[in-house]
Amino acid sequence: MTKHPDHISASKFIDELRRYQKGSVSRRHFLGVTGLGLATAVLSTAVPGLRPRKAWAGLSGTLNVTTWPNYFSQENYDNFTKQTGVPINVNVFGSNEEMLAKLQAGSTGWDVLVPTNYTISTYKNLDLIEPLDLKLFPSYDPAAQDPRFLGPGTIDGVTYAVPKDWGTTGFIVNTKATTENPTSWKEFFALAQGPLSGKATVHDYQLTTIGSAAKALGYGFNTVDKNELAEIEKLLVATKPHLFAVTSDYQPAMRNGDAAMAMCWTNDAAQLNRDMPEMSYRLGKDGGEIWVDHYAVIKGAPNREAAYAFLDFILTPDINAKEIEAHGTPTTDSRVLKLLPESILKNPILYPAADQLTALEYGAAETLTNPDRAELMARFKSA
């Protein structure tokens, strides 16, 4: 154990601070020798914000959060564990369809789910998520939410899911790898079959792959019309041999240069562009998807208390702001917007000009369960 001195001189303090900064001593040693650890402990009982909230006390077990790849701040999750003693077990999925399949198979042991707008009504109808008890996570404030994004989570006036963040589905182009300058889905598919043959990827996901191909042909993003789907299948199957891959995990291929153009979500685009400025994200002039992901609580969640504590924690504005900074997905919460740095708010990948958004559509619930779209996607993949 480190000895705790009664006092510490200013120069000694600076010495210790330097040692800590250089990494010569541990954080624990630094806090102990300077008395800062004790000071924090005393302060935290006096300042209400630093004290664990009542709802977070007495939690136990593990929290199972089911979400998407590259879609949370590890630091935030670690802090949740530190404050509540509940470790978070993260399950990562590639598509809403896959999440639904696991839930339909039963007893997943999941507590918190991150569903996309178009799936929530189906989850509700299949009795897979519970109506949220808003009293249990006071950090969520519906009045602070952008009203555009409140629709999908609320069914018949009951809140089944609260917005996590929103984004778009466009495509990303490595401008160092190609001089082509596509601005629409029509051009995307033409390039994929032509100059960028072997260098393009599409999602392993029916909603966006079929939807974007539909836009290239001038159909609605959510079409389930059999004739239109037949035309879409023709386009996709003709493109298949030219694709580099069919995958929703396209960051590795874009980063190491295997692919030069990829169907892409906002958050992946933000992460790619942050590390490689030559990565240029575009929304199709001819349309595409706008989406809003939610937090929902699974019906019969094994750790329901921790699930609500988690929602309360993660939706706290300053914590939520760290989420956005980590994964680069636009927030729906105006309180969080105020806390974000200029660089994020001015980033056109996250916040495109309003006129670019008008052509975009929400996914429709019908596409989740429509057998024709499902089989089309499966045939395309096995083609």
Binding site: E97, E98, Q104, Q206, K240, T247, N256, T369, P371, A374
Partner: protein, 297 residues
């Protein structure tokens, strides 16, 4: 033992029935396992394969042959699996045999165990991690990148070649030990006899060593072939959704389009194909080894 004491009626009864009881008890776990985790699920799969997809996905009871009529829609997946799985098995065997031969015949016993452990060493790392590494090696900045420096434009990742490379790499540790075991048991005097009788080393290899090692090759091949036929991760990672196996089609049908009945029909077809292939193969190998053995004796 009490049972060995004669004259006591009830105990001698026990002595005959006890081994039976012990046998039953010993077989019970395996038997229950077999019935409940193999036969019953197989029956469920068979029943599902005649059903219909429920409106929100899943299974709905029905009796239709439509799922079997739809099988040609997965023709490419069957084709890929039925060509690449045998080819991958063959390649793995070709790589494994010299390795096993070296270990069993050439290496001094002092090093044998160490080297055998090293063959298995890749298994200590997660399969997923190893395939991710191969994605990098076979990707743009890996081997194709070096080849590009000498002017060769080659693409490996997300082609059947990548899947074959992954198969050989991934399954070599399964193929080497069975071949090693059969070669190690090989009576070296047979080789001397063969040489004494004037056979060249090549002829000795083809007519003595190889036939005697055939059971090991057959076992290893079966292990690898069965795993490759049902593989999902390898084509997913190194095929990138472009080299599609039946395993990938099944994952799609159960997890994405949630058409369980069609998925069940595809599974039944896969099981049927495996059964026939393995039956024919085993018959062939057994007849070969038997005749060889007979011919040798």
């Amino acid at each position: 033992m009490r049972g060995s004491r004669p004259g006591m009626m009830n105990l001698s009864m026990a002595s005959t029935s006890r081994p039976k009881l012990v046998t039953t008890l010993l077989l019970l776990p395996a038997g229950l396992f077999f019935v409940f985790l193999l036969l019953v699920p197989l029956a469920v799969v068979l029943i599902f394969s005649f059903g219909e997809r429920a409106p929100a996905g899943g299974y709905m009871p029905a009796f239709t042959l439509q799922n079997y009529m739809d099988l040609p829609a997965r023709g490419k997946a069957f084709f890929n699996t039925l060509t690449l799985a045998p080819l991958g098995t063959l390649l793995t065997a070709l790589f494994a045999f010299p390795m096993a031969y070296f270990l069993a015949v050439k290496v001094s016993p002092k090093w044998r165990v160490t080297l055998l452990i090293l063959v298995m060493a890749p298994f200590w790392t997660s399969q997923l991690l190893r395939y991710y590494a191969w994605m990098m090696i076979l990707g743009n900045k890996g081997i194709p990148g070096w080849l590009a420096m000498v002017g060769l434009d080659v693409r490996i990742i997300n082609t059947p070649w990548a899947v074959l490379i992954g198969a050989v790499y991934g399954f070599l540790p399964l193929m080497v030990p069975p071949i090693y075991v059969s070669l190690e048991k090989l009576d070296k005097r047979l080789l001397e006899a063969s040489a004494d009788l004037g056979a060249t080393p090549a002829r000795t290899f083809w007519q003595v060593t190889l036939p005697l090692a055939l059971p090991g090759v057959a076992t290893g091949s079966m292990l690898v072939f069965i795993l490759l036929m049902g593989d999902y991760i390898l084509p997913q990672f190194l095929g990138g959704g472009k080299v599609f196996f039946i395993g990938n089609a099944l994952v799609d049908l159960f997890l994405q389009s949630r058409n369980w009945p069609f998925g069940a029909a595809v599974s039944v077809a896969l099981v049927a194909i495996m059964f026939v292939t393995i039956y024919v193969y085993m018959r062939f190998v057994l007849s070969k080894t038997d005749t060889r053995r007979a011919a040798l004796v």
